[in-house]
């Protein structure tokens, strides 16, 4: 185990006492227009709910209300589905090259308003501005741009689809998205569905609806035909009404495995098509022959990106025993350099936890980890803002595979560190989970990279990198992490008859 100070990148550098440099505040100051109240977006217009109550949507870093949105009723969902059904006939018959132009326009408008959307995303969800600015919003635009180009090429997308010269859309798609990447998930769901000629009813998560509603404003600006996209806000009852609606042809859900299973049961015996992108407990495997400093950055990005609110987070770290001490020491140093706090500050690495409920869940898991005998390490010294929902980046050592924190999805900035001796043991441990969403492997040995990547049971395998996403790259899981893919050529199949 090395006792020398770890190599430092300029980003990770700090004072000799192991504390990060003190930076002056650097808040993002682009003004963002938020209406005091939002209605539902149905049939090409913002319309009042029929009987739905309003609730406040909070800024999780201040606990202040940003706006008031609607808890949609079953009758609102009915209206949204009817609007989508009505629009389906003309939208699916629209010349594909013309359909594409709307999607291109949406991509362009997202780029035009990128800074404003990033600020809104950060205010509504709590994620650091540098992530919403550099990841969420650019990727959302890319999804529309990428899929726009597919509209008139669907017949080349896959071999021998039914009606091969003009592959058929499914119809009305009910799409339910989570709170961790609100605008990006809306784009992941809407772009391929629209490119294939479907119409949509989108339900954002109840704590993060504002960027979806801002997207609705963009849809108006680009003159997307009425009813092609409808947005109903609210909680689980709205999602349930959509899932159980008799005139919905397809459900696409991203969220927890627990809810995914309920949706699968609700769709049993119906003609509804279903794709599920669910939870994970993804392994990140560090071999002794890896480039350790790069691997440390991968571990940091794997678990502390977006406060760990990532379904594919590398939340189980498996380190080869020979380098365990070195990895822990460097990880400890790197964790101390993370800046937790104001999500709108451009230097912030870890923002606010999305909601009080999620913070309580994460804290319960941290307590369980300590209670079950694992050793907790965190940044005790970092001051946290007085208001808002905060969780210090944390990792646990002395973790057994049977510990709750090594088995269950925490969805927070909490890493479980374990060790292994042989590649076989690493694989056995990595695959010993009902999930199979993502996995990471770090080694500089080429043949080993591909051998391990081949044998990991996961839908996305990051080799010598982690948490990379792209509109052209299919994303989705094995086993209880769900089925179906989003993105790339493979993602189109989720929205076409085949």
């Amino acid at each position: 185990m090395s006792t020398a100070p770890p190599a430092q990148s300029s980003r990770a550098s700090g004072h000799s006492d192991g504390q990060p440099w003190i930076y002056a505040p650097a808040p993002e100051t682009v003004p963002v227009h938020i209406r005091p109240e939002y209605d539902l977006f149905i049939g090409g217009a913002f319309v009042p709910s029929k009987g739905g109550k309003r609730f406040a949507t909070l800024n999780p870093s201040t606990e202040e209300p940003l706006s008031h949105i609607v808890e949609a009723t079953a009758s609102d969902v009915d209206r949204a589905v009817a609007a989508a059904r009505k629009a389906f006939k003309s939208w699916s018959a629209t010349k594909p090259t013309e359909r594409a132009k709307y999607l291109f326009r949406i991509a362009r408008r997202i780029q035009d308003k990128a800074r404003e959307l990033a600020v809104l995303e950060t205010m509504d969800g709590g994620k650091p501005i540098k992530e919403s600015r550099d990841v969420d919003v650019p990727l959302a635009a890319q999804h529309f741009f990428y899929h726009a180009g597919w509209c008139d090429k669907l017949k080349y997308a896959a071999p021998h689809l039914p009606d091969g010269d003009a592959p058929r859309p499914l119809g009305v798609c009910g799409q339910i998205i989570p709170w961790n990447f609100p605008l990006l998930m809306a784009a992941w769901k809407l772009a391929p569905a629209l490119a294939c000629g479907n119409t949509c009813v989108l339900k954002p998560a109840e704590t993060t609806s504002l960027t979806a509603l801002a997207l609705a404003e963009i849809l108006l600006e680009v003159d997307l035909p009425s009813g092609v996209v409808n947005i109903v806000t609210g909680g689980p009852n709205v999602g349930r009404a959509l899932v159980e609606h008799g005139d919905v042809n397809k459900i696409a859900f991203t969220g927890s495995t627990e809810v995914g299973k309920k949706i699968a049961a609700a769709c049993a015996g119906t003609a509804k098509r279903l794709t599920l992108e669910l939870g994970g407990k993804s392994p990140n495997i560090i071999f002794g022959d890896a480039a350790i400093d790069q691997a440390i950055e991968g571990i940091v990005n794997g678990i502390w990106f977006n406060q760990g609110h990532v379904c594919c987070a590398g939340s189980r770290l498996l380190v080869e025993e020979s380098v365990l001490g070195e990895v822990i020491e460097k990880l400890r140093h790197r964790m101390r350099m993370l800046r937790v706090g104001d999500p709108l500050d451009k230097n912030t690495d870890v923002g606010a936890i999305n909601s009080a409920a999620q913070l309580a869940t994460i804290n319960r898991y941290i307590d369980l980890g300590v209670h079950e005998g694992a050793r907790r390490e965190t940044i005790e010294s970092a001051p946290l803002p007085a208001k808002g929902y905060w969780c210090r980046p944390t990792f646990f050592t002395d973790v057994q595979p049977s510990h709750t924190i090594a088995r269950e999805e925490i969805f927070g900035p909490v890493l479980a560190v374990m060790s292994f001796r042989t590649p076989e043991e690493a694989l056995q441990r990595a695959n010993n989970t009902p999930y199979g969403l993502s996995a990471g492997v770090w080694t500089d040995k080429g043949s080993k990279v591909f051998d391990i990547a081949r044998r990991l049971r996961a839908g996305v395998v990051w080799c010598n990198t982690f948490n990379k996403f792209d509109a052209a790259s299919p994303f989705g899981g094995y086993r209880e992490s769900g089925f179906g893919r989003e993105g790339g050529r493979h993602g189109l199949l989720a929205y076409l008859q085949h």
Partner: protein
Amino acid sequence: MPRIPVTKTCKLYINGAFLRSESGRSLAIVNADGQVIAQIAHASRKDLRDAAEHAVAGQVKWAAATAYNRGQVMYRIAEIMESRSSELVEAIRTIEGSSAIAAKREVESSIDRVVCFAGWTDKILQVLGNQNPVAGPYYNFTVPEPTGVVVVIAPDAPSLLALVTLVCAPVCAGNAVIAIASDRNPLPAVALGEILATSDVPAGVINILTGQRAELIAHVSTHREINAISAAVRDPGEAKALQLGVAENLKRVRLISEPKPDWTDDDQFAGPWSIEPFLEMKTIWHPCGA
């Protein structure tokens, strides 16, 4: 005095061996005239579990074999079927009472179907996989991988063609299969097991159970070692029961719900979309020059 024929004891085919049911049960099979013409093994839930255990082990080895090798083993199945075609014709006719010409045609179609899937082993990855042009310095590609252990629930007719079709689609891509034979005419399934035993198919890769369909499928959806189901369902109720069962563990299900599909249709039953339900798409990223 006429010679007393030697009748065959029809057994389960599990892990490359012929076994009686652990339950000690057997079932009488009657022909169209109501005559008992065979006694078959009546598989239990425990037999299904045993088969699953062996299928898990068999699948790992099968998936690790080269696609070229899997293709040759499957082609060998067709070779042995051809040499035993008269036995297969009899197995179809004995109970169904179909004409010799129709039964012969079904056997020929079945053999050709196996040959078709033998050819898919080393092509399905190329047809369904691709490199992805991501916007960054990464080499990124998506490849199909086998889902794991697939339970096949075969229809009553065509007893041989539908069975080999549903078995070969997942097997060609590296999955292992446990086939639950038709309980109205299980004889072609029994004959197929005997063919597999002499076809170089590794133990555990294809397992065949006979018995009462409803009794066995009640346990299929909940079993944790089974990763997917391929079923020709008899009615919407059976379809819903299977879908409800798998909602708890999210195993993959492909249902054939049409009452009488044209099983000779290669586009429907021997194309990439008959294999794809038993594949998982894996996307692999690696930095490239970064």
